[in-house]
């Protein structure tokens, strides 16, 4: 009984720089953690997991966070649609036939100039969507799918001057007894001290955060109908407009370091995820 060896080897090839002999693993790609061009940092849904037993529509409010430092303010056309797509995770194609078109505030536009005071990085206008009767929506699907969650997708398409960016947020519809909630990132600390705005000091400093809550326990149904207890595993991504954070993505037991390039205050953003759709964003700006 063998798994796809080539896929494992693909991973291993990523992991094993035998190529170090040539430095072949080096690339000149832009870093995912450096702010500059248009980025979507996160989409926070106030209810990341919806009760699949609910017999009435459920409202969910979603707040996209963007960063557009280089453009320094422009107006985006924003189109939003939503649909149930249980097969999204199979091939990554959005396969819903009749997506629900949602109305975004301000006539489907957003002015990023409103984020000037926060280094053109921050929350867009929130949008509230209504998920139709979830119990009807997921009726017929297997108990395993219903328990573990079926994807209800919400897609945001931003466009400005020909530049486009699309982001998909999946709201899980699940019959779990205890539904997922968002983690909370309360504060960002440098060398253990709270900072009210973007850091200004130079030198390498410990970069950490405080979270009042703790990873939630939840259950997963296996294919044989049995359940497995699991605990969330937080992952934090740091974004910054200057200096360097390394590593820029960490697990709970890991630590990042921040090093400024100069003493001017910069933007620093922490995004905390529970890997189940729950997310929180903390932004420090000059």
């Amino acid at each position: 009984m063998n798994i796809s060896k080539s896929k494992i080897k693909y991973l291993v090839r990523l992991a094993i720089p035998l190529l170090i002999f040539s430095g072949c693993s080096n690339n000149n790609f832009k870093k995912f953690s450096e702010l500059g061009d248009l980025r979507i940092l996160a989409v926070v849904a106030d209810i990341p997991e919806v009760d699949g037993n609910s017999t009435s529509p459920v409202s969910v409010t979603l707040t996209p966070y963007i960063s557009d430092v280089t453009a320094a303010g422009r107006i985006f056309n924003v189109n939003v649609f939503s649909c149930l797509d249980p097969s999204f995770s199979q091939l990554g194609d959005v396969g819903c036939d009749n997506p629900q078109v949602e109305a975004y505030p301000n006539g489907n536009t957003f002015d990023a100039g409103t984020l000037a005071a926060t280094n053109f990085s921050g929350a867009m206008d929130a949008i509230t969507i209504s998920i139709p009767n979830p119990s009807v929506l997921i009726a017929g699907y297997s108990n395993q799918q219903k328990h573990n969650g079926i994807s209800y997708l919400v897609a945001f398409a931003l466009e400005s001057g020909g530049e486009e960016l699309t982001v998909i947020k999946s709201i899980s519809i699940s019959t779990r007894a205890v539904l997922n909630t968002n983690p909370v990132i309360q504060d960002i600390l440098l060398d253990g001290s709270s900072i009210g705005s973007g850091p200004t000091t130079s030198g390498e400093l410990d970069l950490t955060y405080t979270a009042p809550g703790s990873p939630e326990a939840y259950s997963e149904m296996l294919s044989d109908g049995s359940f497995e207890s699991r605990t969330e595993s937080y992952v934090t991504t740091w974004f910054y407009s200057d200096g360097e954070v390394s590593p820029a993505r960490i697990l709970e037991n890991q630590k990042s370091f921040y090093e400024a390039k100069n003493t001017s205050p910069i933007g620093l953003i922490g995004v905390l995820r529970d890997r189940r759709g729950g997310v929180d964003v903390r932004i420090l700006n000059p």
Partner: protein, 784 residues
């Protein structure tokens, strides 16, 4: 005459004119020479005639210098009497009655340097050892690839003497396979045959399936080269003896341990060190044992640390791959009719990598992977009569695969027992029958919570964070039965040959029997040329994971393929051992019921579930392959070329090249043996494989990753590959051991061959990923 008698004449020399001087000088030179020969004769004469010495008995053994291999059937002369002794099978000789004293011993054996030894003895002696040095210590074999009268005409074989010196292969039997036509270039630890995916190739040891053939990253085969006698490679049109593989098989034949003497070997090279020992265990019994441990992880760590120091920062990866293997074999000739063999093989690979900064967003945290297996293979052969025999073997063992990328896990433990039995009888000069069984039983435990992206199509860049999480905690079994029969008819004065066979397989998880006829026709055009045609039906079962309810689709069908192969062999050597050999052929494989990915939901047990896969893929692989060999005693040149067109029909009805479609594959290898040196070179050119370009990405918030937007499917190819490898071997031959040093320079031009394409985190940028530049491998080996 004594030399002193000339002295007075020399004193007169200065008084003569030039002509006379020259004349006298010539005479003197002649006399001196005669005197010398006369003195030598006198010396023997004094010892043999003037003394009253008794005759003595001298016995000993004639051995090859360095290897201590007994040299049989060699004549040993003792001069001047011209007495002769001939060595027996063990190299032993005996002179029952030799005149004592000073004698010259002369041994002349084809392939060895002449031995002339002045040997003095005054009493009887035993255990005298004479060593003959080979003229060439690395002769190139005359093996004909796809040679005439092979049991399976589709079979190509590489012998140990070939793969050990194959440039670019580092002495590895499977890496050397890439020099053969029909074998694709693989950047991973796989063997791809005639445009088929690696999953369609089965790997065997002594006819029994093993989970993988290579150690990590394809650095080495799982068995020590010294343990391997040969490697068989079966491709399109292979016979009924084997099955369950759509494309072909690779079988490692372990060597029979030496019975004539003991042999030990130890080696150390850039990535691994190991040892090997073999020899007789009393009468009719013999053994070998070998082990190897790789410290490539430590080497990598040194390099990463050095890079980190250079870059003034911590390395982004901390990697610790390592592997080891152990081979053991015990042979017991129970009687003239029966043999018992017992083989054991164990292999383990461990990879651990810590990615602290997930730039590529594929995963973060620690990847840990361990694959290991062992096999115990008892084999019994019994000759019922002069023309019939039975052979049976069982392989029992456990395979383990543990893979934990980040917080996910895949843990598979398979207890595997396979049984092969074959009865063979030669009924007449023109008819031979073979029949047998080929069973495989697996009991497996699957504990998985892992992204389905691990199992998806290779051209899909579905992010691991997005793909469905497959969960399973399954214990189950899988039993595959196989029955085969082969009939060989030699017709019309043995000019025509007919192989009529069939195979019946039953796959428990598919719940079906599969009848697979196999047919082969061969025609001897001339004594030096043959034409072969082979065809057959082949079924390959799906893996339990792909058939699992929680991990795949239990309704998947076994894939089916129809093979057609035509080949022409010509030996241009006209009875000589030197000259040209040609093998050229066409192949066509019609592929059906191929597994393709599906994003549909289907109703199973009255509820909607992910379909994941369908069995309605189709495709074909066709091509031309040829191997031209030029062989001399001290040198060889092989030219292998394969043209392949491998295609798949997508769910949209369109035809695409397959991921293994390497249109042109040219391989030129050569070797030259010069004394104790062997020089080798290999040049390869291979068309780049197709890939689907990505045109950008969509951000998927839940996984904090981007989903690639694919462009036209498989519309682009990576750059063509070409590489030149050089190898130098040098041996120092001592009486009882040989020291070998080799330098294998892979990619001597340091060409940056593209292996794939990599993208920035949002797929807005791309660049070529390249393989190793000039990669030197240096090793030392001692043979005792």
């Amino acid at each position: 005459m004594k030399l002193s008698l000339y002295w007075n004449r020399i004193n007169c020399f200065t008084k003569l004119d030039a002509f006379k001087k020259f004349y006298l000088f010539f005479i003197l030179l002649t006399l001196v020479s005669l005197n010398a020969r006369s003195e030598k004769k006198d010396k023997f004469s004094q010892n043999t005639q003037s003394q009253v010495l008794p005759n003595v008995k001298i016995s000993g053994v004639l051995l090859e210098k360095g290897s201590r291999k007994p040299i049989s059937n060699a004549n040993i002369y003792v001069l001047p009497e011209g007495l002769k002794a001939t060595t027996d099978k063990s190299g032993a000789f005996i002179f029952e009655s030799l005149p004592a004293g000073f004698r010259q011993w002369v041994v002349t054996v084809s392939g060895y340097k002449n031995l002339k030894l002045d040997y003095k003895y005054e009493s009887s002696q035993e255990g005298v050892k004479l060593y003959l040095e080979r003229k060439i210590y690395t002769p190139f074999e005359t093996t004909v690839v796809g040679k005439i009268k092979k049991e399976d005409p589709s079979q190509k074989t590489l012998k140990k003497s070939e793969f050990l010196v194959m440039p670019g292969s580092n002495g590895d039997p499977i890496i050397a396979l890439e020099n053969l036509p029909g074998v694709g270039l693989s950047f991973d630890a796989d063997v791809t045959i005639q445009g088929s995916p690696p999953e369609d190739t089965r790997y065997l040891i002594e006819g029994h399936e093993i989970p993988y053939i290579f150690h990590f990253y394809g650095l080495n085969t799982v068995a020590l080269p010294e343990s391997v006698e040969s490697v068989d490679f079966l491709s399109a049109g292979y016979g009924a003896k084997f099955g369950r593989a759509s494309s072909g098989l690779v079988n490692l034949n372990l060597q029979k341990p030496r019975t004539d003497r003991s042999y030990q070997m130890a080696f150390v090279d850039l990535t691994a060190a190991g040892g090997f020992a073999e020899g007789p265990l009393g009468q009719n019994k013999s053994y070998f044992v070998g082990a190897r441990y790789s410290y490539v992880g430590q080497i990598i760590k040194l390099a990463t640390d050095a890079l980190a120091d250079e870059n003034d920062g911590p390395p982004s990866f901390n990697v610790a791959p390592t592997y080891m293997d152990i081979n053991f074999s015990y042979h017991n000739k129970l009687s003239d009719r029966s043999n018992l063999e017992f083989t054991a093989l164990a292999s383990r690979d461990i990879v651990k990598a810590v990615q602290e900064d997930a730039e590529n967003l594929t995963f973060s945290g620690t990847i840990y992977g361990k694959t290991e297996f062992f096999r115990l293979i008892p084999k019994y052969t019994y000759r019922l009569s002069g023309d019939s025999k039975i052979e049976t073997s069982i392989a029992a063992g456990i395979d383990r695969q543990l893979f934990t990328p980040g917080i996910e896990r895949l843990n598979i433990t398979t207890t595997r027992v396979s049984w092969r039995a074959e009865y063979e009888k030669i009924f007449s000069d023109t008819y031979k029958l073979s029949a047998g069984t080929d069973f495989l039983y697996d009991y497996y435990k699957l504990d998985a919570r892992i992204s389905s992206a691990l199992f998806g199509d290779d051209d899909s860049d579905l992010p691991f964070g997005l793909a469905e999480i497959l969960t399973s905690n399954d214990k189950s079994s899988d039993f595959k039965q196989g029955y085969f029969v082969k009939n060989r008819f030699d017709l019309f004065d043995k000019k025509w040959g007919l192989n009529v066979g069939a195979r019946l397989d039953h796959f428990q998880l598919h719940k079906e029997f599969y009848f697979q006829p196999r047919l082969g026709v061969d025609y001897k055009i001339t004594p030096e040329s043959n034409l072969y045609f082979n065809t057959g039906v082949y079924y390959q079962p799906e893996t339990p994971i792909n058939l699992g309810e929680g991990t795949g689709n239990p309704d998947l069908e076994a894939s089916k393929s129809l093979h057609y192969a035509l080949r022409y062999d010509q030996d241009f050597r006209s009875g000589s051992t030197e000259g040209f050999l040609l093998s050229a052929g066409l192949f066509y494989k019609d592929l059906r019921n191929l597994r393709v990915q599906s994003s549909s939901q289907v109703t199973r047990n009255n509820e909607l579930v992910p379909e994941r896969y369908k069995s309605n893929g189709e495709g074909s692989s066709k091509g031309f392959e040829t191997l031209l060999k030029y062989k001399r005693e001290r040198s060889f040149v092989n030219l292998g070329y394969t043209y392949t067109k491998s295609e798949r029909i997508g769910l949209d009805g369109l035809t695409y090249p397959s991921l293994q479609d390497q249109t042109h594959n040219l391989n030129i290898s050569s070797g030259y043996s010069w004394g104790k040196y062997v020089f080798g070179a290999r040049f390869r050119y291979v068309t780049g494989v197709p890939y689907t370009p990505n045109m950008g990405g969509i951000y998927y918030d839940n996984a904090d990753t981007y989903i690639p937007i694919p462009g036209r499917r498989l519309s682009e190819r990576i750059d063509d590959f070409w590489q030149l490898d050089l190898r130098i071997d040098r041996k120092w031959v001592y009486e009882k051991w040989i020291l070998s040093v080799y330098l294998d320079l892979q990619n001597i031009t340091s060409r940056k061959n593209q292996t794939s394409i990599s993208y920035s985190f949002d797929y807005s940028e791309s660049q070529k990923s390249t393989g190793l530049p000039l990669f030197p491998s240096f090793g030392v080996k001692g043979e005792f």
